[in-house]
Symmetry: C3
Subunit: 204 residues, 3 copies
Amino acid sequence: MSEVIQLVDTLAVGVFAITGALAAAERRLDILGFILFGTITGIGGGTARDLLLGTDTIFWISQTRYLWVCIGASVATWFLAPMLNSLHRVLLWADAVGIALFSVLGTIKALQWGSPPVVAVVMGMMTATFGSILRDTLLNQEPVLLGPEIYVTAALLGSASYIGLQSLSFTAALAMPLAMALAFALRASAILFDLRLPKYDPQR
Amino acid sequence: MSEVIQLVDTLAVGVFAITGALAAAERRLDILGFILFGTITGIGGGTARDLLLGTDTIFWISQTRYLWVCIGASVATWFLAPMLNSLHRVLLWADAVGIALFSVLGTIKALQWGSPPVVAVVMGMMTATFGSILRDTLLNQEPVLLGPEIYVTAALLGSASYIGLQSLSFTAALAMPLAMALAFALRASAILFDLRLPKYDPQR
Amino acid sequence: MSEVIQLVDTLAVGVFAITGALAAAERRLDILGFILFGTITGIGGGTARDLLLGTDTIFWISQTRYLWVCIGASVATWFLAPMLNSLHRVLLWADAVGIALFSVLGTIKALQWGSPPVVAVVMGMMTATFGSILRDTLLNQEPVLLGPEIYVTAALLGSASYIGLQSLSFTAALAMPLAMALAFALRASAILFDLRLPKYDPQR
């Protein structure tokens, strides 16, 4: 199981690195800018999680393949991006995949380190969103937290449903893909059907 | 004494969570946005402090009531905010209370972990201001560090006067409320009388 | 050797503190704003490095002279800045010196803590640039990562060439100044001759 988790984790880092490199492409940065934003977006969420959990070492310091995945994904994006019709559409969907994977993986890691459920949910949401928040803040773009779309909600669904499924005694091998699918389904619906939560309205 | 500190600490987290939720109301975010900004603002300063001090665990990971206080305060703000005449006025004064409490509490925690006085002052200032800095940066608003008002100065007064009172051999039970009162009095005066420090002027 | 490193490290912190205080001068902040931005810029990069490396204590917590250097450099800048013809020019060159020193020092510290080479390069780049990124983000300015100039590239050259020289069995006492000189030479050329890497161009 832990090998599957490592594989999915590496995949999620690569997917987020692509979104960072695509954001760099939208801003017409140079190749080093692609690598920087790819790497920051790819490892940002997990870094914040590991720092707060107080793990022995940050994941990409003990296992350098994560850095190489970020660098490779960013360089590949540099060469492949000109063939894409819409950078933004690819960015949006890669981001949706990344959120789904990381929200559950972050929750699993927090539980492994002994976090109580509410903390594990917070860690899952943070792992899934912090890389994108860094990316958008450093790019001086409207941060995703302010957007009207259901973004953080999808991460919350991924984390919380994993905890819920586990407490219903689903095995991790079953709960993980199910929770990821739920998070992805919600995010995908939000993109396709423009779903949103009701906004604060002082007149109500 | 340590129970009093825990109580005041919980209160300060709740007060800052309210300012985060009010900032979310000003931006017309949804209920999850209220909770996110409430939580980030409520626990942001203490999280940075604990990370830098290298405490065994971050305070809200070992004691989850802090998260529940943030969530509760944010949800309550969602329902009560429409009854307020001026969100901004309440935000300003809640912030003033939070700064006064956190600047002293942060200093106390740093001293407990063996920090020298100058580090304890920095930790107090950071505990008091970092949540608001995160809130404003993520909301894309003019960060409070740039404002002309005496904001950080009040946090500095709270931290430094606690250290000063202690070295004059005041007991913690006396120095704590006194230093908090001083910090609040300075911040309140700044709000009421528009006090400010002289700005840099190259012509002087 | 370790005394030389400490000396150069203190110098680098002071140089970056000056850039932070100069940025505060450009925004006409008050004296506390000078000290805040001086300190944040001076210790920001090393703080991020130490947090991620998981050192026993953050460098400025165990050795408070770093804080005093930041405070002193900021106050000195407050008094001396009005005598400068161009704040921005001094800021630019002080920044170039700081990048050169910190990129190599950060790499050395990471290697001392057992990081593999690719991690040590990342740590060097982060030590050299994170203080400036914090400074610019908190000042609401175009972050340096987006600039067209060769900024991060110079930090990369400093880190990577130190690793390269070491693997060619240069002693640290020789590799350190050489790598710093290379990083500074690249950054200086970029400022003087407006060098830049080619930008992403979807039409190529």
